[in-house]
């Protein structure tokens, strides 16, 4: 009888132990991290820099007379070394620009180095007339002309003459400021082209231009 009792106690103890083990609570779980997210930077370095070497557009030494109702124009062509001048007819009403062969002009030569075999687009803007700095009458920078071809659709201009600039006086030109030329670099990434132009006397006054150096400028934008 006692033996049976002890056996029963042992069984109860074992069951109690089992129940106790199964009764353990599990309410203290700690999750350190679930779905980790990493932020990954992306970079790309655009190198659209073009190396440019350009010489001055030089109209040389000229004699210039402005007249009230007449304009004289003189042009140096791309790669040109002579000035197609406008010496006038000798009539006192004619404006004049006469070249001096002893001091020849020179078109600007522009050398661009960029990616090989790649089209480059050239456009012009911000034309400043040639001024002596002394308040004298300006020589109007009437046209800019390069020897680039024009691009495809969307470009205005004529091959070989895609700069035709209106300036302060619209009677000097009929072009538009969005004219743009294009050409492709060679296998070494080099493109060489030239810019010529036209100067004109100013309307509205009878003026013998004072001696001096007349300086103007224009902007050239090159891009891929």
């Amino acid at each position: 009888m006692k033996l049976k009792h002890f056996k029963t106690m042992a069984m109860v103890s074992a069951i109690a132990l089992g129940v106790g083990l199964h009764a353990f609570k599990s309410d203290a779980a700690t999750v350190l991290s679930g779905d980790p997210v990493a932020n990954i930077p992306i970079t790309g370095n655009v190198l659209n820099t073009l190396d440019i070497v350009a010489t001055q557009l030089n109209f040389g030494r000229v004699a210039a007379i402005a007249k009230t109702a007449d304009v004289a124009k003189a042009t140096v062509a791309p790669f040109g070394v002579t000035l197609t001048d406008d010496p006038g007819s000798g009539n006192s009403a004619n404006a004049r620009i006469a070249a001096d062969s002893a001091t020849p002009p020179a078109a600007s030569t522009v050398t661009i180095t960029g990616f090989a075999n790649t089209p480059i687009f050239v456009s012009y803007g911000t034309v400043v007339d040639l001024d002596s700095g002394g308040g004298a009458t300006d020589l109007i920078l009437a046209h800019i002309t390069d020897n680039l071809g024009t691009g495809g659709a969307g470009f205005v201009g004529v091959v070989g003459d895609n700069g035709d600039w209106d300036n302060a006086n619209p009677s000097y030109g009929t072009g538009v400021a969005t004219d743009q030329g294009t050409a492709t670099t060679n296998g070494s990434g080099v493109l060489t082209f030239s810019i010529g132009g036209t100067i004109a006397t100013q309307l509205g006054a009878n003026v013998v231009y004072p001696n001096g150096t007349y300086v103007g400028s224009f902007d050239v934008t090159v891009s891929y």
Binding site: K2, L3, F6, K7, M9, A10, V12, S13, A14, A16, L17, V19, G20, L21, A23, F24, K25, S26, D27, A28, A29, T30, V31, L32, S33, G34, D35, P36, V37, A38, N39, I40, P41, I42, T43, G44, N45, V46, L47, N48, T49, G114, F115, T118, P119, F121, G151, G152, A153, G154, F155, T182, S223, Y224
Partner: protein
């Protein structure tokens, strides 16, 4: 009688041993106290789940240095790609172009992102992508078109082809997977592609973006 005595002693011994084990277990589990035989007591328990993954972005996604050419008609765009194996392919076939600058400086090289994960051994991990921000420099943008990793895709399974995740329509969240090594490591690479905008002449400079990558068991 002797037999019954031995049996009784054995029974007492068994109960004593059971009680000792019971007490020892209770003590080890964090319980100390007197317990009436036949009753039970409750112990708290805890488990610490550590599913954290160690992720190291060894290298970011670096498309390297390149030039861009605008379409004169302002309509064409160009797309360049970088594979997980660091192969950069420009786009010179159309009016708009992306040209490899061919430079070899550290910041010029074309490098896919390298991701190193430390996790449980021989365990499959899932990787997906979100939150893509395009490459931006000032007001100009190069659009991230795709991300491409060298993980298996869910559809191809183990040994499948590399994933190629198109980021269109704001749902770029295709998922790749791979299994860690016996040492718990997983190393993979992420490349991608980007597209120029039409009518844009890009300024030189560093364009920066980013994306999020989520890794889970």
């Amino acid at each position: 009688m002797n037999t019954n005595k031995k049996t009784l002693m054995a029974g007492i011994g068994a109960v004593a041993l059971c009680t000792m084990l019971y007490a020892a277990h209770a003590y080890a589990a964090g319980f100390v106290g007197d317990v009436e035989s036949g009753s039970f007591f409750t112990l708290d328990s805890q488990a610490v789940v550590n599913n954290s993954l160690s992720i190291t972005v060894t290298t970011p996604l670096q498309f390297g240095t390149f030039g861009t050419v605008k379409d004169p008609a302002d309509t064409d765009t160009a797309t360049a790609s970088l594979t997980p194996a660091d192969v950069f392919t420009g786009d010179t076939g159309g009016a708009a172009k992306i040209i490899d600058a061919g430079l070899t400086g550290a910041g010029d090289l074309h490098r896919s992102a390298t991701i190193t994960v430390a996790a449980f051994p021989d365990t499959q991990l899932f990787v997906d992508y979100s939150g893509v921000n395009n490459l931006v420099n000032g007001a100009q943008t190069l659009t991230v078109a795709t991300l491409q990793d060298n993980l298996n895709t869910p559809n191809t399974g183990v040994g499948g082809v590399a994933g190629n995740f198109t980021l269109g329509n704001g749902t770029p969240y295709d998922q790749g997977n791979a299994t860690t090594t016996a040492g718990g490591a997983l190393v993979f690479h992420i490349g991608g592609s980007f597209t120029t905008a039409a009518a844009t002449t890009y300024l030189s400079g560093l364009y920066s973006g980013d994306f999020d990558m989520t890794i889970s068991y």
